[in-house]
């Protein structure tokens, strides 16, 4: 059966009868003319009878052919050759709980996803896969699929994308296209591309464009009460900023502690005198009143570095933009094998489990004074992800660690002020994570390469015994943010492996190794451009191209359609593509992916326009036009006579 993008248009095939009717009407609509030259006319007609009849039939056929071609063109045939082998189009839609989120336009993510699928349905048969596994099935035509999609609603459960994609991947061998649309928020770090995409492009919370702030250190004020917080502000635009320090006051209110303009070198030391450390939660720094830098990377590092510990992750909500990060932590915690989730809906069992954790990760500082935060604050390790400060430093400075107040020197210090400079690398980008409390770690070794970023820069690390404990030092080049620039799993994978060997710790599960060798890796690139590394390391440029989001060539044999121009969104699309590819163990012939993204109205309008150039139907339309032209040239009896000939 031929496949048509708009099969209903074939009903217009009845129009093929129109030329016949016109022919008949034309024959009936005769006019009678008296003539004295009948002998002449008769001779001409008899002499040319055969030719005239052939011409008449040819004209009729041409008109019918033109109509048929036009009808076929509008029906948008997908292919003419090998239709039987064309297979199905796989439609994978994320119907997970996060898809219920209402977008600014009033539609839910899911409704937007359904809408975005439409233009990619070229015709033929379809196989639908959902994260929830509901309403999956095969559909013989586009309308049936669309009807099903319109009936669908996001489920209230978390979807299992990996399973869904596995099912889709198993089925895609006989398919010619894959259309995957969704937020894919359930993708966890177990899938390498997800990690890349997330680290490279997810930013929570927002910050001024081109500006980042890091807390370089927190230390007690010598000889007094309070802390000094050293901030490092980087701004490509060289704008003046004021860095402010906040504390979490009573009832969760945010109180400014101090603020100071950023110095010329970008360094600002904020001193909070008389700050009671005990019970103070620093919300880190902010630039011009905005929230500080999200420290996804730091949290991730912590989680990766702490597999021997039991990690609890405390999140406050799921279906929210912040869920992207929260879900990430959750997945990460689960990935390393010891984490679990505690949220505001947590049951008593979970709370009890949280109390057993060695490390608790709060994804939102507002959770701290709330349940179950107060009870959990007694734990020895508390990390904050929302502040941008080094988690351990925050933990120390906030006084939440009992040992801190008593003996600051005994507290593991997150930022090593005595970090030895490395030749060729700017020292201000160094950071050191304390590993002193981890058992069995022996210091030693030289700087080791952790990662080389396409020859542009490299990351080094080493373990070292210091006077304050055992530490792992990571050195890298300057970047906008560590988390945004560095594929940290690559930084840490060898490091953790060595750490495991060094300490004899067992990594659980097999590890971060699984994050190495991704099919595609996305670096931090401008939002509308993505660079993808293919399996062989070939750099493939993804150009979102002139504001139109269409099919992009990833590499020979792999195609993807990136809907939306933002890096995060495109990253999600690519990672989903890679997931399918990985799971299927082969390259995709065609893949159309659509992430959910809120482009500007103009881009959205363009995006939602059906691409008139897609498919062979344009060729058909041109052929039909050519046929009409030929018909016009041949026809001595046009259906419409524009000019009536009269006597000269």
């Amino acid at each position: 059966m031929p496949a048509f993008g708009s099969a209903w248009f074939l009903y217009f095939g009845l129009l093929l009868g129109v030329p016949v009717i016109i022919h008949l009407i034309y024959g009936l609509r005769r006019k009678r003319v008296p003539t004295g030259a009948m002998w002449m006319i008769r001779r001409i007609v008899e002499h040319n009878a055969r030719r005239l009849r052939l011409r008449d039939i040819l004209l009729l056929l041409l008109r019918m052919a033109a109509l048929a071609l036009i009808v076929l063109a509008f029906a948008r045939p997908v292919a003419w050759i090998g239709l039987e082998n064309a297979g199905r189009t796989l439609v994978i839609i994320d119907d997970g709980f996060p898809m219920k989120e209402i977008m600014p336009g009033g539609d839910t993510l899911f409704e937007t996803a359904v809408r975005k699928i439409g233009p990619h349905l070229e015709g033929g048969e379809y196989a639908l896969f959902t994260l929830s596994g509901r309403m999956e099935g095969e559909f013989s035509d586009r309308n049936a699929l669309k009807a099903t999609l319109e009936r669908m609603r996001p489920c209230s459960l978390k979807g299992d994308l990996k399973t869904a994609l596995s099912r889709a991947a198993a089925a895609q061998a006989s398919s010619r296209a894959v259309v995957a649309v969704g937020a894919w928020q359930d993708l966890g770090p177990g899938e390498p591309p997800v990690v890349h995409a997330r680290l490279g492009h997810i930013e929570v919370p927002p910050r001024p464009p081109g500006c980042s702030i890091r807390i370089a250190g927190i230390r007690p004020v010598p000889g007094g009460k309070g802390v000094e917080v050293e901030c490092l502000v980087e701004d490509d635009r060289s704008l003046q900023h004021t860095v402010r320090l906040y504390r979490l006051g009573e009832n969760g209110a945010r109180e400014e502690i101090t603020g100071r303009p950023v110095s010329e070198d970008g360094r600002t030391v904020l001193t909070a005198h008389n700050l009671p450390l005990q019970g103070t939660v620093l919300l880190a720094a902010a630039v011009d009143g905005r929230d500080g830098l999200a420290s996804d990377d730091i949290a991730y590092m912590a989680l990766e570095l702490l597999p021997p510990l039991r990690v609890g992750v405390i999140v406050n909500r799921i279906a929210s933009p912040a869920f992207m990060s929260d879900g990430f932590y959750v997945k990460t915690a689960l990935e390393v094998g010891t984490g679990f989730i505690v949220n505001e809906y947590a049951s008593g069992d979970l709370l009890a489990a949280a109390k057993q954790c060695d490390v608790l990760l709060f994804t939102d500082a507002s959770l701290v004074p709330q349940e179950p935060g107060a009870e959990l604050l007694a734990k020895g390790w508390i990390l904050f992800s929302g502040g941008g400060a080094r988690p351990l430093a925050i933990a120390e400075a906030s006084g939440l660690l009992p040992a801190t107040a008593a003996d600051p020197a005994a507290v593991p210090v997150a930022v090593d002020q005595d970090f030895p400079p490395i030749a060729g690398l700017p020292a201000d980008m160094f950071m050191a994570l304390d590993w002193g409390e981890a058992p069995g770690i022996a210091a030693g070794g030289a700087w080791r390469p952790a990662l080389s970023l396409q020859g542009r820069s490299r990351i080094l690390y080493r373990f070292e015994e210091t006077g304050r404990g055992r530490r792992v030092f990571i050195a890298g080049p300057p970047g906008r943010t560590h988390g945004a620039d560095l594929p940290l799993h690559k930084v840490f994978a060898p490091m953790v492996r060595e750490l495991a060997a060094w300490t004899g710790l067992r990594l659980s599960p097999e590890g971060v190794d699984c994050k190495i060798g991704a099919v595609g890796e996305i670096w931090d690139l401008p939002a509308d451009t993505l660079q993808v590394l293919g399996p062989d390391g070939t750099a493939l440029q993804l150009d979102s191209g002139r504001g139109k989001h269409g099919v992009r060539l990833l590499e020979p044999g792999i195609y993807t359609a990136l809907i939306g121009g933002k890096g995060g969104d495109a990253g999600q699309a690519v990672r989903a593509a890679n997931l399918v590819a990985i799971t299927a163990g082969r390259s995709l012939d065609t893949m159309a992916l659509g992430g959910l993204f809120q482009p500007d109205e103009g881009a959205r309008a363009k995006e939602e326009e059906p691409d008139p150039g897609a498919g062979p139907w344009r060729i058909l339309a041109l052929i039909a036009l050519a046929v009409l032209v030929v018909e016009g040239l041949l026809s001595a009896a046009p259906i419409v006579t524009l000019k009536k000939r009269g006597p000269a």
Binding site: P34, T35, A37, N48, L52, A637
Partner: protein, 300 residues
């Protein structure tokens, strides 16, 4: 005189337009009285032709006395004789002549008006006028004669003619040829829509009678230009036969065939010194006839 002429077929404007002109035969005519046409015989008229020796019995009035006085020899002066002629007006009364031009004038009516005007001219210049009209029935034949009364009777007869039925045009022309006993002029009013070969053969019969032929080829614009589109049912008005065809498709072939037919006719007639005057009923008779007569006079 005009008041008593049959109305409808006699166009006073056309008659007055050609009143000062002459319709002169290009061929010699055998007449009985002196006229404007060249005669095959030498006579004693105005135009000096030659001298010849006197023979007994010659009329002494034509003896050139001056030459006799100077040379003592007798010569008779000879003059070119002019004579009158007999002119036949042939009118095709077939049904196809009833086809009208866009202005409402039929070919037949136009033919009658032209015939009436030229008959008037011929009679006025002293020639004999006869009429031969052919229709579905027996042909009407009025022998050529001179005089006003005879002209009136011809015009009255013309006024009574009606186009009807089929006419075998070659056969009619042959019949006419049989009735022509001596040299003269024949004015033929018809559309001449007949297969060319047969038509030319019939015309040759007339030429063999040493007649001067003038063919007034009267066709409508539509017959010449074929301005039809789409499915058209052509009806042979003479026999009633019909043919349905896509007129647009046969138009080019028709125009070519029509051109070939008219060109063949013109050449065949010109070969014998005749004229073909193509006319459409849309033309003004008062301009067509004088123009033709003037052109003919220049070529004489």
């Amino acid at each position: 005189m005009q008041e008593s002429l049959p109305s409808g077929i006699f166009d006073p404007r056309a008659a007055s337009a050609i009143a000062d002109l002459e319709l002169v035969s290009r061929r010699v005519a055998e007449g009985f009285i002196s006229g404007v046409h060249p005669s095959p015989y030498y006579g004693f008229a105005i135009e000096f032709a030659a001298y010849r020796d006197y023979v007994p019995g010659d009329d002494l009035r034509f003896l050139d006395w001056r030459v006799w006085g100077r040379t003592d020899r007798h010569y008779i002066k000879q003059f070119e004789e002019t004579t009158n002629l007999s002119c036949f007006i042939f009118v095709d009364c077939s049904a196809s002549m009833a086809i009208r031009e866009d202005n409402g004038v039929s070919k037949f009516h136009y033919a009658l008006m032209a015939a009436g005007a030229l008959g008037y001219l011929i009679s006025r210049q002293g020639d004999n006028v006869g009429l031969y009209s052919v229709s579905a029935g027996e042909p009407d034949y009025i022998p050529p004669k001179g005089g006003r009364r005879h002209l009136f009777s011809i015009l009255a007869h013309l006024a009574r003619l009606e186009p009807a039925g089929a006419v075998l045009l070659p056969h009619a022309l042959n019949s006419l040829a049989e009735r022509i006993s001596h040299r003269g002029m024949v004015l033929l009013f018809s559309d001449f829509l007949w297969p060319t070969g047969e038509l030319v053969q019939a015309l040759k019969q007339l030429f063999r009678r040493r007649s001067d032929l003038i063919l007034f080829e009267i066709m409508t614009s539509a017959e010449q230009l074929f301005p039809y589109d789409g499915m058209t049912e052509f009806e042979d008005v003479e026999v009633g036969a019909r043919m349905l065809t896509q007129s647009t498709l046969v138009r080019d072939a028709y125009l070519q065939a029509m051109h070939d037919h008219r060109e063949s006719l013109r050449r065949a007639v010109a070969e014998y010194g005749g004229d073909v005057v193509p006319i459409t009923p849309a033309m003004s008779l008062a301009s067509v006839l004088p123009a033709y007569l003037a052109r003919r006079a220049r070529l004489l």
